[in-house]
């Protein structure tokens, strides 16, 4: 019984951390169709922001993770969008190469500043007991934060004028501009929001992972696979795909090894894309976001 509870918490954890890592990409790639290969590096920047704020500047860890990391990475997102992403809209392959270069550049800059050494912060809060087992409280809070985050993104996109404008612009930029909307500005803001969410993910995951300049590489493949499998409805699709992949990965990792967990994730992704080439939301939940 205790073991089952522990396992369920582990699975929820796996889903939450995958969905969190994907949230920003769901906006930038899922909605805007910008292949941002520097996604992992945006997370890395968010993590470094949290580390610097808490360790060097002595700021409260929650403020660092939840507020400062997204703001800093959001600002970096605006700069990146203005200086070169905007010249690549609609040119997928070119964007891929340009953002790959950006990712190498960011790794280089961070290595030059901090050195190729591990940084990190301890997780706030202690642990609690599930029967005879111990579970980190922080991981439970993380699950809650991810649920709130996705509800928030969903509400903004469906219930606000801002969300309506953003969705309209992504679907039909020409029509949107005819209606007097500055599409350039909408793209910029949307990209910044995506970057900020990615920075938030980096900050929140910093206490439970290692923080090094190359940390982003571990996230790129799995986040892209998840968002692609999610399909056109970026938010719902990403959530559903995270649910499937997170469950498969955690259960296989628990039963066998993390290697098989990773392999299992890929096999499920291949099978799902074969059966649902348009992604999950291309077939089911078609009217979702």
């Amino acid at each position: 019984m205790d073991t089952a509870a522990l396992l369920i918490i582990e699975v929820l954890n796996g889903i939450a951390s995958l969905a969190l890592a994907c949230a920003g990409l769901a906006i930038i790639f899922g909605m805007m169709r910008v292949i941002n290969f520097a996604h992992g590096e945006f997370m890395m920047l968010g993590a470094y922001t949290t580390v610097v704020c808490t360790k060097t500047l002595g700021i409260n860890i929650w403020i660092s993770m939840l507020i400062i990391s997204p703001i800093i990475v959001g600002i970096i997102g605006i700069i990146v969008e203005r200086t070169f992403i905007r010249f690549f809209y609609g040119r997928m392959i070119d964007t891929l190469i340009a953002t790959w270069g950006l990712s190498l550049l960011l790794i280089g800059i961070v290595t030059a500043i901090f050195g190729n050494i591990i940084e990190g912060v301890s997780a706030p809060m202690g642990s609690f007991e599930v029967g005879v087992y111990n579970v980190s409280q922080y991981r439970m809070v993380l699950i809650g934060i991810v649920i709130l985050l996705f509800i928030g993104v969903f509400m903004v996109l469906t219930r606000t004028k801002l969300g309506l404008i953003a969705r309209g612009t992504m679907q039909n930029p020409a029509q949107a501009s005819v209606l007097g909307i500055s599409t350039q500005r909408v793209y910029m803001v949307t990209f910044a929001v995506g970057a900020a969410l990615t920075g938030l993910a980096g900050g929140l995951l910093a206490p439970i992972s290692q923080v090094i300049p190359t940390a982003g590489a571990a996230y790129v493949a799995q986040t892209f696979i998840t968002v692609i499998t999610g399909g056109t409805g970026a938010v719902t699709g990403t959530l559903v795909a995270s649910g499937v992949f997170g469950t498969v990965r955690q259960l296989l990792s628990y039963e066998f090894t993390p290697v098989l967990g990773g392999v299992g994730l890929l096999i499920v992704a291949v099978v799902m894309l074969r059966l649902l080439p348009q992604g999950i939301t291309g077939k089911i939940f078609r009217r979702s976001l």
């Binding site: 396992l7 050494i117 301890s122 997780a123 087992y133 980190s136 439970i208 992972s209 990792s253 993390p258």
Partner: protein, 415 residues
């Protein structure tokens, strides 16, 4: 995008070939060393994933050379050190070992960090008759007259920890390690030592070096309820384990006796509370209160200033190996490889350095040395037990270089 024409291709190829030839010509006149110097090479990764180990090793190797030269050199000659950086890349190891042996004709290659990289360069240097010194703590088992090892072996290093764990914490141990040859072989040794104690290793789990998410692993360990946990985790990503273990509140629930904690300076990279109470055994700690060590740490910090790192049992290797080799050269009175090997294997090469008394053993080409058990508290190591002059007896049943000098193997434990 890329217009490939026949003419363009020919031009390009000719240009490349010409520049290669030019580079070869430019390099060749420098092939032989001056007679008034002894040339040695260090091959330690100073960039890439392993730089946390290779950078201090190169520094301490450099310091050893500078100190020998300041004291008048070897056989009246100055030592010149060529520092190669293989960038954590196996192909570069092979390339630099060949370059050191054939082009620079060095008298010693001091190098390799992982066992995998050592097994890349060991056959090359044996073939080209260039002496190899390996100075990293490792799983043991190298049996090669051309290769001296000042790093400790499983019997010297892992056995004291296994004995301590089984005696202090209990008979049921859970082993986790990185997924490559050294941690796997150390896992086998741990099982062997468990058998000798009538204890058991419940499970051995291995993780690729890029795994950073240990949630399922921690759940699995909790479920197995071992008396203690033995860790042989390696590299930056695996540091996350200790962080997640602490976050899960496990640090005081299941004690950790770690083979590798600290050798990548994990104890200073993690916060104090994340590392408190973790026990490890190493042949060297910067905290060792030997006069020779206190003095050495001061010299090292003065020499490298802000670049000086916390010295651990891996980082010090560059110094220990180079100094022991220099004693062999002095005793031989010659720099010829056969003479140096014979002198090093005489059984008379003994030295009191920063890591205490060290004796080169002629049977195994390894080094008899001390071992210290320490507990991590507030990011420093408190040594609570020391073992004097442990003998590297790991594979002595199968490896005796005095009887069989042609032996050339990397042996594993028989369980």
């Amino acid at each position: 995008m890329f217009d490939i024409t026949r003419r363009g291709l020919l031009k390009g190829t000719a240009g490349t070939a010409a520049s290669l030839v030019a580079a070869g010509l430019a390099a060749s006149p420098k092939a032989f060393a001056d007679d008034d110097e002894i040339v040695i090479a260090s091959i330690f990764d100073q960039s890439g994933g392993l730089d946390i180990y290779g950078t201090p090793m190169t520094q301490t190797c450099e310091l050893a050379v500078e100190e020998i030269n300041a004291a008048g050199g070897l056989l009246g000659k100055k030592i010149r050190l060529i520092k190669y950086d293989p960038q954590s890349n196996m192909e570069l190891y092979a390339q630099y070992a060949q370059e050191a042996a054939l082009k620079e004709r060095v008298d010693l290659v001091h190098g390799a960090i992982t066992s995998a990289s050592r097994e890349v360069i060991r056959p090359i240097l044996r073939r080209f008759q260039t002496l190899l010194w390996y100075s990293v703590i490792y799983e043991g088992g190298v049996c090669d007259i051309n290769n001296f090892v000042s790093g400790v072996t499983a019997v010297q290093w892992v056995k004291p920890m296994a004995d301590y764990g089984f005696k202090t914490h209990g008979k049921r141990c859970y082993y986790i390690g990185a997924d490559y040859n050294a941690p796997q072989i150390i896992g086998k040794w741990t099982e062997k030592f468990a058998g000798e104690q009538g204890a058991e290793v419940l499970t051995k789990d291995f993780f690729p070096l890029d795994v950073a998410e240990f949630g399922p692993a921690i759940a699995k360990i909790q479920e197995a309820k071992p008396d203690w946990l033995s860790t042989c985790l390696v590299g930056a990503a695996h540091t996350g384990f200790y962080r997640q273990w602490y976050a899960a509140g496990m640090l005081n629930e299941i004690p950790i006796v770690s083979v590798t904690f600290g050798v990548g300076n994990e104890h200073v990279q993690l916060s104090a509370e994340e590392g408190n109470g973790i026990v490890s055994a190493q042949p060297y700690f910067q905290e060792l209160q030997l006069p020779a060590n206190v003095d050495f740490v001061k010299r090292y910090q003065e020499r490298f200033g802000d670049d000086a790192q916390y010295l651990n049992s891996v980082g010090i290797g560059g110094y220990l190996g180079t100094m022991l080799w220099s004693l062999g050269v002095k005793a031989a009175g010659s720099i010829e490889r056969e003479d140096v090997i014979a002198a090093l294997r005489s059984g008379d090469i003994a030295w009191d350095g920063p890591a205490g008394h060290m004796v080169v053993d002629p049977v195994t080409n390894h080094v008899i040395q001390d071992m210290h058990m320490a507990e991590c508290q507030n990011q420093t190591w408190n040594i609570f037990e020391s073992y004097s002059q442990l003998y590297p007896s790991d594979v002595i049943d199968r490896c005796d270089l005095t009887k069989d000098p042609d032996m050339n193997a990397h042996l594993e434990p028989i369980i």
